[in-house]
Symmetry: C2
Subunit: 389 residues, 2 copies
């Protein structure tokens, strides 16, 4: 398939900004991405925008035209895409598809979430709509509880411990400490993770990502557009896959593996013509520490049962063989749910082109993978990014 | 552009079904469409699904994988698309694009909305998130109020009366009376419309569409797939356009015309290689009677100022020169917001192929147009359907 060039990307600072409106945050990210690309708003042919809980958080649905307006592109169709915490990954995938379909040469893709303006229990209730209301939420399931079940199932099948998981949190905070966009720019210790209040055994407070406000956007173009306009766009999306699983955990034959990620990765690798062995670094959806383990195995980067020790053994740290979540991941960078999938692509492109604060860790990297998951990994978007110019 | 074949379509009955779950309704529509097409669920390559207020109405976001599961297609990526009342029109457009991109040969497109399980004021509040919360809703704007402003602006610029609008409601009820899927299968008189309680002058109760539960789905395929599999799919989508406008009425230079519809129609006509003069019949978004007028003019089927008298003069009635909303329209068929755009395409295909209860009105029709609008026409999807085989 034709590689889709990433001409520019930008994110707001991630953090607690209860007084910033969604439209303001997306305008900053979207306009920033266009400026970096050197592309005027009226050159945009399509806008795909991820958002999960705006109807609850801002009493605002129908955000497609609103966000198009915020970046001055009312001539381009603007479409909101929602797939829970994978909303922006799905928006990126739609932008790729729009260019492949021939209906767009330039697509602006991204997302935004505003979460801290609500009371915490309201935000939690809104997030819960990403699981199955009839068969999970009404029975008392919570997201920390669901990931705790997945962790326990993993431990039972393959072994592993809270110490293994804690190493993931420690690693991602190490990476986030040097990312000026990250919500948590500080390191933490294993002891701090293990001594933190328990949320749902074995998921403690520091095994979970924070509640975050923020927006992120990228400008995608066709090869021919990038070449004709002499764009400085050395990084391309060469593979874009999506995968699905049953919404409710109870309907899955196994919950210590993520079929949706496996399906999405198969498609993305196949399109890119690469395999897990070619991957130099990854940004994965670590909403909880166990989720990073499941992601690494779902992507085929580790065999089942071997992802759990990757961080503790240093394989996935910045100076390891396969750095994972050099951005800080959802754990430290933060997780504005409707923006996360786009921010993974934006930061991966920067890491590969050498413009990210943490690029020094991967000077020779040419292939990166992003993994964005919705709910309890019922929907996944995977993108393969490569240095092509 | 390659025509996209409509291999099958199906809708649930539209009406008040507060005890039917969303997943159950979409399963009926989606499985029905696949059965009519003679296509197995595992042949579906992509699912695009429109829903607007499920996070409020059913406490259920992340409906992509849920709906994929409901029709047994977990191997296909499933993506929720939201553009307020145009959500399903946008889902159809994404399905068209998926096939054109080469990533799908078979796309299931549709939508669902469940609205009557909430209290009416909750449903109204949820619907209001389709307008601009900061600058419209918080100031007291309501949707009937907004369309009343648009009607008043139209009357002031071009003339027109409540009697003209009433003729639209009467016509659409006439059509709905013979549609077994319609929520209102009865006729009404001009007197009944004019004597009904006023909601927001000049919009009376019978100028507004009802609150509806329902689902609709269509199976789209590439030309090559339809031919190779010998499908009975004589109708194709030959043009698919989307258009945007400012979300808030106050930001538009004029509110008696709908720029979003004009933009969407331009793209759709251009792709299809047809013009307004070629159109034999239309299904348009008559959420309020004035909306039908604005739609007809936005589509170029009538000059500005001439759409208002079309129904009263009989031009758009079943036996007129240009039948509009032979299904009964949103007014009589009902308006499950996330499903409406798909149901327009489903019923238009049936009208053109001669299998709709009201097909007798248009025995020689070959070109139909569908028009699905979000909010106060801030987003619009237009599709051109043609008899191609």
């Amino acid at each position: 398939m034709e590689p889709i060039r990433i001409a520019g990307g930008s994110s707001t600072e991630f953090g607690e900004f209860p007084n910033r409106t969604g439209r303001e945050m997306f305008a900053e990210a979207g306009q920033g991405a266009l400026e970096k690309a050197g592309i005027e708003p009226n050159e945009v042919d399509a806008l795909y925008y991820g958002n999960f809980m705006g109807q609850d958080a801002e009493n605002q649905g129908h955000q497609g035209p609103l966000m198009a307006e915020s970046i001055a592109t009312l001539d381009a169709p603007a479409t909101r895409v929602e797939s829970a915490c994978a909303s922006a990954g799905f928006a990126v995938a739609e932008g790729v598809k729009a260019i492949r379909s021939g209906s767009a040469d330039v697509a602006l893709v991204g997302g935004m979430e505003r979460m801290n303006n609500l009371e915490t229990e309201e935000t939690t209730a809104s997030l819960a709509t990403a699981a199955d209301d009839l068969y999970e939420i009404r029975e008392g399931m919570t997201f920390p509880g669901a990931y705790a079940l997945m962790a326990e199932a993993y431990f039972e099948e393959f072994g592993g411990s809270r110490e293994d998981l804690a190493a993931i949190a420690v690693k991602n905070h190490e990476n986030g400490a040097t990312n000026p966009k990250a919500q948590f720019q500080f390191e933490i210790t294993t002891e701090k993770v293990l001594d933190a209040p328990m949320v749902a055994d074995p998921v403690g407070l520091f095994d979970a990502c924070p509640i975050t406000d923020g927006a992120s956007a990228a400008v995608l173009t066709s090869e021919s557009y990038a070449e004709e306009h002499g764009l400085d766009a050395p990084i391309a999306i060469t593979g874009s896959g999506r995968g699905m699983d049953n919404l409710a955990l109870q309907d899955r034959p196994a919950i210590a593996q993520t079929k949706a990620a496996e399906k999405a990765a198969d498609v993305a690798y196949d399109e890119a013509g690469v395999g897990p062995d070619d991957v130099d670094l990854a940004e994965v959806h670590d909403c909880f520490t166990i989720a990073e383990v499941l992601a690494l195995e779902g992507l085929g980067l580790f065999e089942p049962g071997e992802g759990i020790s990757a961080a503790r053994e240093g394989i996935t740290s910045a100076d390891g063989d396969l750095p994972v979540n050099l951005s800080g991941g959802l754990k430290a960078k933060g997780h504005p749910v409707g923006a996360t999938g786009a921010s993974q692509v934006v930061e991966m492109a920067q890491l590969l082109e050498g413009t990210h604060p943490n690029s020094d860790a991967v000077p020779d990297a040419t292939v990166g993978v992003t993994h964005n998951a919705g709910g309890t990994v019922a929907s996944v978007s995977v993108h393969v990014l490569e240095v092509v110019a």
